[in-house]
Amino acid sequence: MKCKKRNTRQKRKIAAIAVAAFGIAGAAEAFEIETGNPDVDMRWDNTVRYNLGVRANSIGNGGNNPNFDEGEYKFKRGSVVTHRVDLLSEFDFIYRKAMGFRVSGAGWYDHAYRDAVAKRNPNLPATIAGSYVNDQYSSYTKRFARGPSGEILDAFVFGTVNLGEMPLSVKAGQHTVYWGESLLQAGGLHGVSYSQMPLDLAKAFATPGIEAKELFLPLTNISAQLLATNELSFAAQYFLDWAPTRIPEGGTFLGPADFLMYGADRVSAALVNGGVSRPKKRGDWGVNARWRPAALDGTVGFYYRNLTDKLPSVFLTGGQYREYFGEDIDLFGVSLSKQIGGASVGMEFSYRKNMALNGQTLGAVAPTATLIGNTFQARGNTFHAVLNAMGIIPQNSLFNSANWNAEMTFVHLDKVTANQDMFYGQGYGVCNAGNRAALGARYRDKWDGCSSRNAFGVAFNFSPNWLQVYPGIDMSMPMSVGYGIKGNAPTALGGNQGNGSYSIGLGLDVDARYRIDLRYVDYFGHSKEGPGLVPGTTQVTSANGLSTNLKDRGWVALTLKASF
C-alpha cells in the first residue's frame, strides 16, 4: 500500500516534469542566438521527447528458459514498460560560415526502471542464479536503462579552406560521418558504412521516434572532404577512438537474452561476464571518391575502409564469456545513386576481407583456433549488396501524399579464411550436418541460427500523410516492416530467415513543432521449443535471430516530442 502511494506520487512527479518540459517548449523561441555580429551564427536547439510504453503481449515460453526469463518477466502484459524522458541539446557556433564548433548531448531518465532490479521467472528453481548479482542491475544497465544520465554526442571543430579552387572541409573531434547510399538499419549492416560508427540500438529500440542523429554514437576522428571538381569529390577519415554498438541489455524489456551484453553480470554462478575485450582504439581509416559524370546522371562512389568491428561475438574463454570485436577488416565498396522513374534509387556492393564471421554465442574456443589480434573469431571474405529506393506518392482519394522507401539486402559468404572451426555456419563446427552423429546434442541447424552461404532480407516503410486534418495539425500513418526472407547472414546482426519486426502507428504534427505518435511495435521469428525445466512447461530452447526472443513483447508506445 505504502509502495503504491509512492508510485502514484512518483508518477505525478514525472508527469509534472514532462508537462514542464513541454511548457518550456511552448514558450521558448530560443533557436537562433543574436550576437549582433554578422560573422557569427549561433544556434541552440533542444528536443524533449517523452515515451510511454505498455506491453501488449502476455509472457510467453521464452520466460521458461532461465537465460531468457528476465527480459520476459520484467514487465507483464498491461504494465508500463517505458516511462521515459529524453533530451537532446545541440549547440552550433559558426564563424564566417567557414569554421566553428558543435556540441550536442543527450540526457534520459526512465521511470519504469526506477527499481533497477531484474525480475526472474518465479516458477523456475530459485537455485538458478539470475543474470545480475542479487537481481540488482549493474551500474551500466542502470545508467542506460534508467538514468538519470547523459552523454556528450558531437563535440568537434570544423573548418573549410580553399586549396586553389578546391574547397577542403575538415572536421576533428567526436562526430559521425556516414558514407554510401544505405537507408535503413539492415542496409547499414550490409553497406559500405558498416561499423563506420557504433549505433545506439538500445536507445533506438526503447524510444520510438528517435532521430537518426541520436542513433549514431560519435567517435573521435578526423574527417575531410575535398571537392576536386564539380563532378568529383574525395573524402577521408581517420579514427582515434573505438566503441561498441549498444544493444538492449539483458533483464530490460527489450533485452533479447539475459546475459547479453555489457551490463549483465553472468549466465550462471559459474559463468560470468568477462566484459569487452577491447580492440586497439586508433588506426581505423577510410577513403572514398564520389564521381558524378554528366553522362551517367547519377553519382557513383568508390570506397575503401580498414575497420574494427563494432558488433561483437560472444564466446567462452577461461570460464568467462566475453565480447570480442574483429580488427583489421578491409572493405572495398562501390555505390550508385540515380533517379529512376521519379524514385531515388541507391545501391551498394561491397566486399569485406578478413571479416569477423558469426561465432556460436557462448560457444567455446575451438582447440584449433588461433588468436587473431585479440580474438579467436572465424574470419572470411563476404560479399554484400544493398538496393534501395525512396519516393513520394502524390495526392489521391486516400491521402495527400505518402512517403515510402524500401531496401533489400543480400550477403554471400565467399570463403572462410581463418579459424573455420569457430564459424557458426552450415558445414562448419557444430553446424556441420556431416558430423551430426559425433556432435549428438551439440548439433545445430539453420533454425538455431547457423549461418548460411547466402541471406536475403527486405525492409519497407510506408507513411501516408493527411494535411491540416484540424487547423495546424497534420496526420500521418507510418508503417514499417523488415524481415529476413531466406538464409541466415554469416555476419553479425545481418539478418535471419523469418526474423523481423513491424510497426504501425498514427502520428500528429502540431504547429510544425510538436509531434505526437501512437504506435504498436512487435517482433517475430522462428524459435525451437522443448520441455521446460518445470514439468509440464514448454520453453524456447533456441531462436533464429536475436530479436526472435522478443516475439512475445509487442508493445504500444505513445511518444510526445517537442523541439525548441
Binding site: P167, H175, G346, Q468, F564
Partner: protein, 446 residues
Amino acid sequence: MKIHNFVIAAMTLTYGALAHAAVTAEEAAKLGKELTPVGAEQAGNKEGTIPPYTGGLTELPASFKKGSGIRPDPFSNEKPQFSIDAKNMDKYADKLTEGTKALMKMHPSYRIDVYKTHRTAAYPKYVLDNTKQCAVKTKTTNNGLAMEGCHAGIPFPIPKSGYEAMWNHLVRYWGRAYSMGYKSTFVDMSGKPTTTASGIYYANYPYYAQGETGTDLFWQAKSVFKSPARKAGEALMLHDPLDATMRRAWAYLPGQRRVKLAPSIGHDTPNPSTAGINTYDDHYIFIGSMERFNFKLIGKKEMYVPYNAYKLAYQAKGEDLFKPNHLNPDIVRWELHRVWEVEATLADGKRHIYSKRKFYLDEDSWSGLASDEYDMRGELYKAGFAYMAPSYDAPAPTAETHGFYDLISRSYSLEKWSAEAGGLNLTEPMPDRDWAPDALAGQGIR
C-alpha cells in the same frame, strides 16, 4: 468531316512536334520600338491608368543602404487611389482574377488597395541585347517542355504559344545570383500563423551568366533550413535544366552528414515548407516541368495584381501582416498592369490535383504574378499571388515572395518572405563547385 479532322490533327501534330523559331525578323524588329526590348507594349493605355514604359526603376531611393538586403519602398509617400472589395467588385470584375473575386466574396474584410501604376521592371543591358537575338532564334523542343537557342535573354519576347510564355516566366530575370533569409508562414483556418520553415536560400541562374552560352541549367537553388528546430541543419538543393522534365534534387541529412538524391520533388506533391498548402510546382506561381498540362496562350489583358509590394516584402512585421483569412490589406500594394493570360488544362492521361490553372504573367517582367487553380471537380480551389518588388539595385524585377490562398480549407501561405529574416542580397554567383551535391556535405555541420 472525318478527313478534315484528321488533317487538322495531323497538322497540329506536325506543328507541335516541329521545332520552330518564335518570330520572323520583321516581327522582332518591333522590339525596342512599339514593344519594349522584352516584348511588353511600350505605350500606356488610352485611359492613362497604365503609363508608357520608360526603362523601369533604376534610381535608388536615398534611404537604400547598399548591401543591407532590405529595399526601402520608393513609393512610400503614395496613397491608394481607391479600394475594391465585395461591395464594388462588380465594377472591376474583368480586371480581377477569379481568386481575388472569390476572396472578396468570402471575406468582408478582404479588399485590395489600388495604387498608381509604376512600370518598374528594369534589366541590365546584356539581357536586353540577348533578348533581341533570342527572339528570332529560340525554339521549344520536346513538345514545349524544353527550350534551346537562347542564353541570358528572355527567350520568347513575342510568344506564340502558352509554352513559350511559360518559358519566359521560368527563365525570367531575377538577377544573376542572390541569397536571402526567408520565412514561410502558414495561417490556418482559425487564423493562427505558424512559421512552417525558415532558413537561408541561395539562388543561382547560370542561364544569365554574362558572355557564356550553352548552359544546361537555368536555375540552381539551395535552402538551408533553420526551422522548424527538427529540420535545422537540413539542406535541399535543386538543379533545373532547360529541359525541366529533368529536375534533380539532393538533400543533406543532419546526423548522418551525407547527401542523398531526393526523390523527385515536383508537380503536385505538397510542399512541407508551406504546411502542404502549396504544391511543389506552385513555387513562384509555377516552376518545374509543364508535362502534365496543355498550355494555351489566351492573350493579354489589364489586371489588378500585387506590384511594387516593397512594404510587404521588406518592411512588414509578421504580427501586422498575418491576419486571419488573408494578409492585411493595408500592407499589400496592388496596381493595374497588363498581363499575359495562360490557361493550363490537365493533359489526357496525366494526373494532378489541379484540373485547370490560369497564370497571369507580367508583360514587363514575365514573372507570374497571379494564378487561379481549379480542383478535379472544376471548382476554384486556390488563388496564388507573387508580390513583385524589383531589386532596383541590380536591376532585376524580382518577385520572390509569393503565397496561396486555399479557398476550400480557408487557410493561406506566404513563402520566401524576407522582411523579418534579413532581406535579399545580390551576390556574385558561387563557384560551380559549391553547386555540386557533395558540397552540401562538406558545408553541413549538423
